[in-house]
């Protein structure tokens, strides 16, 4: 059984999106999933951390770095993690020129956000995401 579905590998970078109801929230979700699909980080459940589920909190502690992607300035993802005692590297789509209610969720916008995130000056984030997507 060991090795099959083993969850013992290093946690690495964990990414949390606000995944809000508006278009900007949807874009944050799509970007987080893209990053996870490409293996640059693991997408993690913001709701589980917000609910203070012990297993989720302890699992999040195993992350080498926590990244939040918020769709709007309310910054729910960032605040949720901070409320749980974490200090995430926070990205906000508003800072990247996206506005709630006026954001197109398409390949172009996803790529734009990925590009902005890779341009961040956080060393570890840079190293792991700046290589771009694998094309998956």
């Amino acid at each position: 059984m060991a090795g099959n579905n083993c969850m013992c590998q290093q946690a690495g970078i964990l990414v949390f999106s606000c995944s809000g109801a508006a278009d900007a929230g949807e874009l944050s979700d799509r970007v987080a999933r893209r990053i996870a699909q490409c293996g640059q980080a693991k997408m993690f459940c913001l709701a589980g951390v917000g609910a203070h589920v012990p297993g989720m909190i302890e699992s999040a502690k195993a992350g080498t770095r926590l990244i939040t992607i918020d769709g709007c300035p309310v910054s729910c993802a960032q605040k949720t993690l901070e409320h749980a005692g974490f200090t995430p590297v926070a990205f906000n789509l508003k800072d990247m020129g996206f506005e709630k209610g006026k954001t197109a969720v398409n390949e172009e916008s996803i790529e734009k956000v990925l590009s902005k995130i890779s341009g961040g000056n956080v060393e570890e984030t840079d190293r792991n995401i700046s290589r771009g997507c694998c094309g998956c």
């Binding site: 060991a2 579905n5 969850m7 946690a11 989720m56 302890e58 699992s59």
Partner: protein
């Protein structure tokens, strides 16, 4: 006291189990140590990183192999 080791059975899980057994023996407390290897049950705990340790149904650690002394502190609380 009920101590559960959550993990599918890799060496890290086995080491955590051994450390938990050593901690219980040194503290001389009554504790039932069991392994949870079913991945569905593990995720039911909200655990995304293993090995994990649960004490009386509450996950107190995930994604690391706690030492004997760290476990002693946790179960002494």
């Amino acid at each position: 006291m009920k101590i559960e080791i959550l993990g599918v059975g890799c060496p890290k899980c086995k080491q955590l189990t051994a450390n938990a057994e050593a901690a219980v023996n040194e503290l001389n407390v009554q504790a039932e140590i069991s392994k949870v290897t079913d991945i569905n049950k593990i995720t039911d705990y909200g655990v995304m990183m293993t090995p994990a340790l649960a004490v009386d149904g509450t996950v107190v650690s995930a994604g690391k192999v706690l030492s004997k002394d760290e476990i002693k502190k946790l179960i002494s609380k």
